[in-house]
């Protein structure tokens, strides 16, 4: 019955050069359940799915499907074994009708003309039972994201799938649509289908899940019965935190050393009641020489705050730099107001991979290497050498292309480029993501020394140890709002309290 095990994963390993994306994952998925997998970014959720569906080949370990060893060589092989995936990027063709989409890839032709395919009746019936509002003749381009998902689900179910994997299916859905999707998932369960539901939204896990497995750093932290947790939650509200804590890991905090204050510092930046599509009423201040941290779960709005301050996203509200109101429309405007940003996506937004270290560093202030309006090779070399030495960037020489450096050294180039701007307010979005431990420590030291020189620094991070270790004050974000601003070193700056604020707003 429902106790029968459909998938058993034993000591699954997947290694990429330098990273153990899956490091000994073991757990069981029971037939006819909704099995949730949660974890922060980089915890190994996606790698697990790709390994299960044959998109990646595992490094070591075993997967048993229905008790037999399962080694899919390709995505097609996995589908043949009854495993279908509903990806975040929907795989439907907007320019075809619903019916054509449902039978896509299964057309039968006669002399080059498409014949009415067989098996259409079965898909039709499934679609009708899932969502009667969709008509076969509709153009898919006119449907909502939720309806397109239904089409994909119907397609998957019609291929005799027994295990449906949903990768963050609610990311683009409205609240109502989420409710409808959950109703569909329940219908799928009635049909005997097992669902793996990937998400980082805890509320959804509680609503739809039967079992939840928490992944972190490529390992299974725990597998829990959802019913048990929610019962515990009702009795002791505090225990709701348990799953959040599991997701984020044991917080090992190096002690925060308060930096000597040099008397009352001037206010450098003041944001009052910032609103846009993602933010609601965000207000905070930044003083000279202060390191302010923004912390929150994925989707809490911390990156959006960075984007507003750097003039990328539109906003309503007031931003004052040194007491003067500034309108931050456009990056160049923000740069002019005294901001500089180290972007979150280093490869996409930070480095010029095809150019050398020497050519990258002056990009944000070309004036620093000009002599009489022309590029001065002497100044440029001196500038590059100065940053290579002060940031200890490991390069063969300054002519090395940035594409060939390690992640940590690329990040140091991005930070150097940003420092050379000599901006008063530094925005650092995930400054140590994808950087090894040694480089992380060095980057933290650099941030501290900048603050001690009077710069205002805002660090946006999803790592709790980083905020607790580095920041003087911490803004806790929850669903686009400031949950609380805590001073580091105060009793409120402990991991339990911080987690309860970022997870529940209070």
């Amino acid at each position: 019955m429902s106790d029968e095990i459909l998938v058993e994963v034993r000591n699954l390993q997947k290694h990429f050069p330098g990273v153990r994306a899956l490091d000994g994952v073991s757990f069981c998925i029971r037939r006819n359940t909704v099995h949730c997998i949660v974890g922060e970014n980089g915890s190994g959720k996606s790698t697990f799915i790709k390994t299960l569906t044959g998109a990646h080949q595992r490094t070591a370990g075993e997967i048993l499907l229905g008790g037999r060893p399962f080694e899919p060589r390709s995505v097609g092989a996995a589908i043949g074994s009854g495993i279908s995936v509903l990806y975040q990027e929907l795989n439907v063709v907007d320019d075809l009708t619903v019916q054509e989409n449902l039978t896509l890839g299964k057309e039968q032709s006669l002399l080059g003309f498409v014949r009415k395919p067989r098996g259409l009746e079965a898909v039709k019936e499934i679609l009708l039972s899932l969502d009667p509002s969709i008509h076969l003749g509709d153009m898919v381009g006119c449907l909502s994201v939720a309806q397109k998902q239904v089409i994909e689900i119907a397609k998957a179910v019609s291929t005799n799938c027994s295990l449906l994997i949903m990768d963050e299916p609610t990311a683009a859905l409205s609240e109502q649509e989420v409710g409808r999707l959950f109703a569909i998932i329940r219908k799928l369960k009635e049909r005997g289908i097992t669902v793996i539901y990937i998400s980082h939204k805890l509320a959804e896990v509680f609503e739809i899940g039967d079992v939840v497995t928490v992944l972190r750093d490529g390992q299974v932290v725990d597998t829990l019965q959802v019913a048990e947790i929610s019962r515990a939650c009702r009795d002791v509200p505090e225990s709701c935190l348990r799953i959040v804590r599991l997701m984020l890991g044991k917080v090992v905090v190096e002690t925060y050393v308060p930096r000597p204050s040099t008397g009352p510092a001037r206010t450098l930046l003041e944001a009052r009641n910032i609103n846009n599509t993602k933010l609601r009423g965000v207000s905070f201040e930044l003083a000279e020489g202060e390191i302010l941290g923004f912390y929150g779960l994925v989707g809490s709005g911390k990156t959006e705050v960075a984007r507003v301050l750097y003039g990328i996203d539109e906003y309503e509200g007031e931003i004052l730099v040194k007491g003067a109101r500034r309108d931050l429309r456009g990056v160049r405007c923000a740069l002019g107001a005294g901001f500089a940003m180290v972007p979150e996506e280093r490869r996409a937004d930070g480095i010029f991979a095809g150019l050398s270290v020497r050519e990258n560093i002056p990009m944000m202030r070309i004036g620093s290497i000009l002599a009489k309006g022309l590029l001065s090779r002497g100044k440029e070399n001196a500038l590059a050498d100065r940053y290579i030495a002060s940031m200890s960037i490991a390069v063969r020489d300054r002519e090395q292309k940035v594409a060939l450096l390690s992640g940590g050294n690329q990040q140091k180039v991005v930070i150097s480029k940003c420092l050379n701007r000599e901006a008063e307010i530094l925005l650092m979005d995930e400054p140590t993501r994808g950087v090894d431990v040694g480089a992380k420590h060095e980057i933290h030291e650099i941030i501290r020394s900048l603050a001690s020189k009077g710069r205002g620094i805002i660090v946006f991070t999803s790592e709790m140890p980083e905020v607790l270790h580095l920041c003087d004050r911490i803004v806790l974000m929850h669903e686009g709002q400031v949950g609380e601003i805590v001073a580091n070193g105060s009793p409120a700056a402990n991991s339990d309290h911080i987690m309860s604020v970022v997870a529940g707003g209070r």
Binding site: V331, A348, L355, L375
Partner: protein
């Protein structure tokens, strides 16, 4: 260790392309010297340089534009537009020098139009510059019509052809001097000015360029303006050398320019390339055309040869880069 090897390899790949081009150039040169009786003569060399000078002048600016990841298909039409405009204005009595300045300014305005469409309104370069290509060509025919014919051949002022027929040292046509100056200026821009550096940055990573505060729109508009102005200048020189203006001048020029640039190793995607490579590319095209002419090969076979050269260049480019 591997990083070091592949870094050297990447730098070498750019040079390999130039060496291959140089070898082809020398090969054609030696072959033509031996096989074609009229080839090895100063008069013929001047001829070749005059043929490539229009391409080199426009491609000097267009090369930098392609390094930003954009290109301009309207250069042939803008050239014809300015040629006709110059003939028309001088025929109406405007002094030659004033007309030259006015026409270059109008050519620059076509560049502004292209630059605003691509940089500000985010129209893809193909569509934006094809639109300009048609519009400018249409105006060229229209202006000839104002004059009352299909071409402007008669009634031009006495001194109309002086500018284009000026010879330096009695040997070197003025357009070759212009070519050398323009090439030198862009050689300087590429290496010594923020405009050159920013072009590589924009083509290499547009998003990072924006977030670094580089004036992306400004750079793109400036380059379109330079390309347009040079196309206009070439039109004026050509029409004043010939002494008559035809609205169908410069047809297919945009492709000659792109062939020279791509042959020279500039990536259509932007981010890499060099002016010296473009010069070698233009010379290969010019020598090949001259050789075919000397052997009396008909025009349509020459066009076919162009196509073959371009495909060959792209294949060499792919092979060189894949090995790196």
């Amino acid at each position: 260790m591997t990083a070091m090897v592949s870094s050297a390899g990447r730098r070498r790949s750019m040079d390999v392309q130039k060496i291959i081009l140089l070898a082809i150039l020398v090969g054609i040169f030696v072959f033509l010297s031996l096989a074609a009786p009229n080839f090895f003569a100063i008069r013929n060399f001047t001829n070749i340089l005059m043929q490539v000078s229009v391409i080199v002048m426009i491609a000097s600016a267009a090369n930098l534009l392609m390094i930003t990841g954009n290109f301009d298909l309207s250069v042939g039409s803008v050239l014809a537009f300015c040629a006709i405009m110059h003939a028309y204005l001088t025929k109406q009595g405007m002094p030659i020098w004033a007309s030259i300045l006015a026409c270059v300014a109008i050519a620059a305005l076509w560049g502004v139009f292209n630059g605003v469409m691509v940089g500000v309104l985010n129209v893809t370069p193909v569509i934006a510059t094809i639109a300009t290509m048609y519009a400018a060509r249409g105006f060229a025919y229209l202006i000839a019509r104002w004059d009352g014919g299909a071409n402007i051949t008669a009634g031009l002022p006495q001194n109309f052809a002086e500018f284009g027929r000026t010879m330096l040292f009695g040997q070197v046509p003025i357009i070759i001097l212009f070519m050398v100056v323009v090439f030198a200026v862009f050689f300087f821009i590429e290496r010594k000015t923020p405009l050159g550096r920013f072009s590589y940055a924009i083509g290499g990573n547009l998003s990072a360029a924006r977030l670094s505060g580089i004036n992306v729109v400004g750079v793109i508009v400036a380059l379109y303006v330079l390309v347009g102005a040079l196309a206009g200048l070439c039109g004026i020189i050509q029409v004043s050398r010939v002494g008559a203006a035809f609205p169908n001048l410069g047809q297919g020029l945009e492709f000659d320019v792109i062939v020279a640039i791509v042959l020279g190793g500039t990536s259509m995607m932007g981010g890499e390339g060099s002016l010296v490579g473009m010069l070698l590319g233009a010379l290969v095209v010019g020598l090949a055309a001259n050789g075919l002419n000397l052997f009396g090969v008909q025009y349509f076979y020459q066009t076919i040869t162009y196509g073959v050269i371009l495909i060959g260049a792209v294949l060499i480019d792919l092979a060189v880069h894949r090995k790196a």
